[in-house]
Amino acid sequence: MSESPALTGEAAEIVFDEATKRYPGRAEPAVDALSITIPAGEICVLVGPSGGGKTTAMKMVNRLIEITSGDIRLDERSVRSLDQTQLRRGIGYVIQQIGLFPHMTVAGNVATVPRLLGWDRGRIEARTRELLELVGLDPEGDRGRYPAQLSGGQRQRVGLARALAADPPVMLMDEPFGAIDPITRERLQDEFLRLHRELRKTVIFVTHDIDEAIKMGDRIAILAEGGRLAQYDTPDEILAHPGSDFVARFVGADRGLKRLSLTTLRDIELEPVNGSVELSAPLDTSLRDALSLMLTHAGESLVATDGEGRPVGAATIESVSRTLAS
């Protein structure tokens, strides 16, 4: 018995149209008339303090939580018009606790949705192999292992492979790296960004960590208490021009520094190198790290180097701060 998912193939545009969730007996809505448009293929991070309704907003997309009023549309089709299970089979779902099936092997977990969709054995086999490679697991050695035999990082990789199995155009990720140690988290974040560039999915990513939001998001929606949208914009714009005191407080007093982490030496106009080279850093060093280097070594300037270590130009504390002013 095969039931095809409601969505397949290319990334879909997601539109929240006055989407509202109210729970009976509560005065404030959990999500209050949320209207945002997430362009196809982008990562939208929902961020905010707890009680802001970020997870609720995300779960309304795959209808784990039903919308009270308003609508959510995936490529013009209302999620309310689609069959629940078929809708969900077309949406990758990753949660913090991962929720791997303890009684199934890695391969069995990854094959969950393809099996529901009635793929034949050979196709599932090939897809499992491809996915395990994609997320950095060993398609031979790891496929037969059980979740209890894996480390936290490996489990989250399996969770990601499982969510990607049927090539869904939309992915929902609820604090996917929240329970993982900082070093592994950073590696998984980088790998996910690399994967995302290759795969082009529309991703809704929930986190309470503003730094993760800035790193992962093409756009960030900041939700305040009561499920109100405080600001929806690119990370750079939010850091440069917070729309309210709430947003400014939420992104933190160091928002200038955070903004510097979005830009690398490659992106700014470098000055000619003169004098002796005391400090140097590769071109893809973020301005935040470059500034930190200069402050640490009490230097006024730093030489940016290319892939072969040849000097390309110089950045100064002044040129870095000029970037923030622009």
Binding site: I91, I95, G99
Partner: protein, 238 residues
């Protein structure tokens, strides 16, 4: 009334004439007599005992499974069924037989009704505990991936509940094997027959042989269940 019942179980009273010294002096255990009567007494009794047990556990499991599934979906059902099964469980087995005989007579049905009622509480509790022990994140991931409630039950919840269910089955099987010997008071089937007769006689060899077979059967079934669980839940070992 129980006197009339006891009188029925006669076929193993030893032939004192042909049994030799060991039997005449009623020593602890007479191998010769036992092997002479393995074919006509103990083997059929053992097979009947296995039948009594299998039928009771199978019916008890079916009822307990349905009840646990209902209680899993509708929480209010747990208390009334636990009370019902709990009351059945606490009625002494001999009293339960006495209560049932006027209704269902001296039949296998009477014995099975009693045996089934002793399996319900343990099986119901264990199945329900197993189903409820499925981690919420596993359920949530399953729903989020588009498994229907029925698929979640069959592919996720029941497999994950297997260790708890098998634990319940082990207790139920051992209990029923032990209790089924008492069923000899209503129907002359199983290892209880030789035991009841040997107590009345009294005759040590028949008593020890039937009792020993019941214990061996219980241990064997328990071991088989453990092996079956290990085979079916390789994931639970790591």
């Amino acid at each position: 009334m129980s006197g009339a019942v006891l009188a029925q179980s006669g076929p193993v009273i030893p032939e004192f004439g042909g049994g030799g010294d060991c039997v005449r002096q009623n020593r602890t255990f007479c191998w010769g007599w036992f092997s002479d009567h393995w074919g006509d007494t103990f083997r059929p009794a053992l097979i009947q005992h296995v039948e009594l047990t299998l039928i009771a556990v199978a019916i008890g499991f079916a009822i307990a499974l349905v009840a646990a599934l209902v209680a899993h979906r509708r929480g209010w059902f747990e208390t009334p069924f636990t009370l019902f099964a709990g009351v059945l469980y606490t009625i002494p087995s001999l009293a339960l037989f006495q209560l049932l005989v006027p209704i269902t007579g001296l039949t296998v049905t009477t014995a099975e009704i009693a045996l089934v009622s002793y399996t319900l509480l343990i099986l119901f509790r264990n199945i329900l505990t197993g189903l409820r022990g499925v981690p919420p994140d596993v359920r949530e991931a399953a729903r989020g991936m588009g498994l229907s409630e029925r698929q979640i039950l069959w592919r996720v919840e029941l497999p994950l509940a297997t260790p708890a269910i098998v634990a319940g089955l082990r207790v139920a099987v051992v209990t029923v094997i032990s209790l089924a010997t008492v069923a000899a008071f209503v129907v002359d089937k199983g290892l209880g027959g030789p035991i009841v007769a040997a107590i009345a006689a009294p005759f040590n060899t028949a008593f020890l042989a039937a009792g020993g077979l019941a214990v061996a059967l219980a241990l064997t079934c328990d071991a088989l269940l453990v092996l079956a669980q290990r085979a079916f839940t390789p994931w639970a070992r790591s």
